[in-house]
Amino acid sequence: MRFTIVVQGGPYTSQASLSAWHFARAVVATGHEIYRVFFYHDGVYNGNSLLTPPQDETDLHMAWCTLGRDHGCELVVCIASALRRGMLDDGEARRYEKPLANLNKLFIVSGLGQLIDGAISADRTVTFGN
């Protein structure tokens, strides 16, 4: 089956994104497919390449990156949620004349249409929030 996973919680604020990551790994491990991980609301903070947790804590940002890289799983950040929370890729940083971009390049900035497409196209949609 194909899963869309919606992540609404920010890392290190609630457990939502840690749960979502465990769930995503289990989807892959059980032979199912991740159609898309959609980061919405505070979930967009998971894409922040500047996150620097202590070395003896799980690096959730890198954990998502590993999942995206090793399993080709699509990590999509909602553009409207991301912009208002200061999560920008190079293109948006230029567009809004901001001094830097902090969104990891493994994350794709896209519109809310990708949430709806994910919900419609996947066999199952599971939401993690706080």
């Binding site: 089956m1 899963f3 609630s14 457990q15 939502a16 749960s19 465990h22 769930f23 790994r25 289990a26 989807v27 491990a29 059980t30 199912h32 066999d123 199952r124 949609t125 599971v126 939401t127 993690f128 929030g129 706080n130």
Partner: protein, 98 residues
Amino acid sequence: MILHTLNKSPEHAALGRCCETIATGDVLVLLEDGVYCGSAGRDRQVGELLAQNIAVYAINADVQARGLAVRMTRGVTLIDYEGFVQLCTEQASSKRWG
């Protein structure tokens, strides 16, 4: 049928709303702080669900992390995340309470 997830402790109104809405054939997965709803002394509503033959599961990692392994209500089934995924495939949709 629907897989309900609950990630709040019994302090929170989410438990009551979930229990009012859940129907026969649905399943409940307790995760994060939701696992307290299935622990000794806090399990009244979950006990009622079990009595109605509604299956209640709890994420083992959350149970272990909170020191609840010896305090969970009999009848609540501990699952890992793979089990969670399996339950999702068996239910038509999922609903988050929190």
